[in-house]
Assembly symmetry: C2
Homo-oligomer: 201 residues x 2
Amino acid sequence: MKIVIVGATGTIGKAVAAALRGNHEIVAVSRSGGDHRADITDKASLEKAFAAIGKVDAIVSVAGGAVFKPLAALSDADFELCLHDKLMGQVNVVRTGWRSVRPGGSITITSGTLAQEPMPGAAAISLVNAGLEGFGRAAALELANENIRVNVVSPPWVTETLVAFKMDPTHGLAAAEVAKAYVRSIEGDKTGQTIDARKLS
Amino acid sequence: MKIVIVGATGTIGKAVAAALRGNHEIVAVSRSGGDHRADITDKASLEKAFAAIGKVDAIVSVAGGAVFKPLAALSDADFELCLHDKLMGQVNVVRTGWRSVRPGGSITITSGTLAQEPMPGAAAISLVNAGLEGFGRAAALELANENIRVNVVSPPWVTETLVAFKMDPTHGLAAAEVAKAYVRSIEGDKTGQTIDARKLS
């Protein structure tokens, strides 16, 4: 399969690329490197990248930032960043990318465990992640008409990220383990699902 | 209890007010009428209304529009409307309202059945409704520190709305039945929950 990874230079993106590379052709898309440059907050840059890449069998999005901050401290600008980066950015990957996906192919986007298991400081991120799961369920119904599957992978805290932030990595899941959920979405037959990466490791 | 209903002139809002009025003091807030005017897309108007109303025991939000349209037809403007009306509008009710709620009180916002059970045409609405459920779960954790409960009510299609739109009302739930979920949120002790209005009727 020819597989586009949007966010290919991130912690999870690199692990997903590594997990797929032996069996598939990978096209790396990133804001800052890879085969094609695109910024998910800039829909035109995604359209340009997909036009240059041509037909593919799968698109994976592992991109998008959001703000972790107590509810009382979240500003209007913080919410706007969350809405337009991780949330609409990934919605835009689906909106701009689906016409490039061959029948029988798939699109996989990324939410996160805070969607269903919040913690203090996660109000904006929980909104974004749960919103992506709702969007994925609905988009899958419509893209079924094009024979394109849509899933959402929900990663837990990633060990490498916890280490980078000098947080306790004990309850993290290694990026290579998280990547298995994306492989399952791409190579399996699920659609409209939120795949909890902890349940596949 | 003194209870603010934001969206008090809508189909569900009127039913919630009717269900609560015998036992509680109702303050009706609406874009177009009621005791105080406020538009949930205009955060300053909410701040002004809450300042005028003073301390309350509960806030209910039953306001917010979103766009029902196939994914391929949803424009950037459609998504922006959804993000800033029903989604951030209700987030703004929580952000601007919680300081007015007395300890022991509650805030109840509104999602909808399409969050978990989508249909074609619901991509933007499913995103909004699921996002509100994620936000509610997270906000409840933080506002527990203030002894304020936060719940989300998920109404199904409302019979009166289906009739108004000349749709088949067979599987709708009457607004008076939907209102029971809000009463449960306000008078009960749940927090951080999404209350499925179909399961209380």
